[in-house]
Symmetry: C2
Subunit: 338 residues, 2 copies
Amino acid sequence: MNRVTIRDVANRAGVSKTTVSHVLNQTRVVDEATREKVLRAVEELGYRPSQVARSLISKRTKTAGLLISDVSNPFYPDVILGVEEVAFAEDYSIFLCNTNYDLERGLKLVQSLVDRSVDGILFMSSSMSLQMVREATENQVHAVVLDWEDSNLHDIASTITINFESGIQQAIRHLVEAGHRHIAHISGPLNLWTAQVRKNAFLKALELNGVEPQQAPIIEGDLRIEGGRKAFEQLNRMTPRPTAVVAANDLMALGVLWAARNAGLDLPQDLSVVGLDDIDLASKVSPSLSTIALPRREIGKIAMQMLLDMIREGKEAKRSRVTVDTTFVLRQSTQRVG
Amino acid sequence: MNRVTIRDVANRAGVSKTTVSHVLNQTRVVDEATREKVLRAVEELGYRPSQVARSLISKRTKTAGLLISDVSNPFYPDVILGVEEVAFAEDYSIFLCNTNYDLERGLKLVQSLVDRSVDGILFMSSSMSLQMVREATENQVHAVVLDWEDSNLHDIASTITINFESGIQQAIRHLVEAGHRHIAHISGPLNLWTAQVRKNAFLKALELNGVEPQQAPIIEGDLRIEGGRKAFEQLNRMTPRPTAVVAANDLMALGVLWAARNAGLDLPQDLSVVGLDDIDLASKVSPSLSTIALPRREIGKIAMQMLLDMIREGKEAKRSRVTVDTTFVLRQSTQRVG
DNA sequence: TTGAAAGCGCTAACAG
DNA sequence: CTGTTAGCGCTTTCAA
């Protein structure tokens, strides 16, 4: 009733462990007759090679860690599916880890991944530190980092940069062409790198479209629906009230949408709302949400692919950089001003 | 630049590997002076014991698989967080696997988990087969199964049963007391066990509350928003149109809600809607969604705890059964008839 | 075309 | 209180 080992197979087939190993890995020519004996024994005993034993020798575990902020953030599921799609095809398994936006917890998670000798880690949490990445790379664990920068990062990790400027500029241009001049931004927590990036892209886009950035209200939100609601309260007290708002993610945009409707506003006439992420829900609510889309599933696939590339190249793998663009998606929550 | 092993530490500290091992695992008394020498060497070299090597001996990997249908189904994220919460506390790492509702893929995923010698697997995909569970348990991998039954299951796995009857009966009683007599059900795909269970609980609840179950319209949906929309189309063509509908999950309930509003119905006056799951969104939309809540995070915690218990007990672990109740949550999407 | 033996990094008898 | 030795289950020289 104990685990069937390569030894059992060898005995049953009347050959050496070496031969069994070679048959299974097709790593040298074996007489057809013995080959079949071995395969039969494998079949009869239901033998499954131990990946653990294999890993001890090969220094590869065919596992990777995926570090995210929080699965319940709807940004992540599609990314995860993308990662899994390519991982599955290469027989890689994925350890999912939620940092809960906690740097210290993130570091612990990375350490436990390193201890388990994962072949690589995908850093996709928005709470990041260079220390976390170092913890991995200094222990021969490859790293791919999404949407975070540090001057010392590129020496040790591959990176995926999200070009928020493209989509945000399209959105702002659209709004400005529709007559909007009072455009507000609801940002994420400004201690997060990605929140800063989005805010700056917003301000730059205003400038490029001839709107004074200094005038633009910036409200800090929590990236959740509730944050959008609260932000609307503030917007609603402003005089004049902005005619359009670009939120740092879709959840907050929906919060604004719903709070505005509850406050008796007529949408989108009284307020144009733009989200960011293009979560599933964005197209399903009514009015449907205009938003800045990022190719989440694609990001997951690219990230895992980059990681596999690094793993294949081994120790001296070169770090690569990829940028993915964002795109404005016009739906019903935006309209010509007035 | 190679991996630091226990050997390096032993050399540096001028002791044997055994002593290093014992110091690190606190598995026998060691002279304070040598202990410190060892710890200093560990520190200086940045030594991290290889879990892989450990696992080869201990037959434990401190890893578990979590098999779900699809992360983008909002039922799962909270469950995952629950699982991770207790896993993290015990230094377990979780392999996340999406079956995509595909039995064959599910089986492959289980096999790869078994090959990686996970200590256990949490079966939470709604597409299940006994074969999948057997694949695990026959290879000494413990199994906990959520919301699925099979006559041969209890001999090999622990189970968590969701008592849908409690919550659904509360919901139906509420509707009936509010005067509803034409109550429809939008089920999930009826090839799924859990869809059958919910449907049967619905019919039984009608009966218990004096409503003829044969009359009740049952529409099969896809568990997604779109399925709710389509179901509403059908409901809307019925004469008389049902005054209330209980959906098998919140997404479809929201689909009904939004489709009904788009069709010009006044909600909840013209149609009462009840969901199931109590996803985050349910309380955030307006009208907010009355729903049948299940303690998702708790389910995740319980499941992982059950698994850990089995792992601790080892080979002859007894299988346990747990049932969790559901509860009706009254919000704004239901109202007295007429 | 095949096997014996060494060893991956660690733990655990068994001795001293 | 500490070290020697024999493995865990596999791969891989090296030799036949």
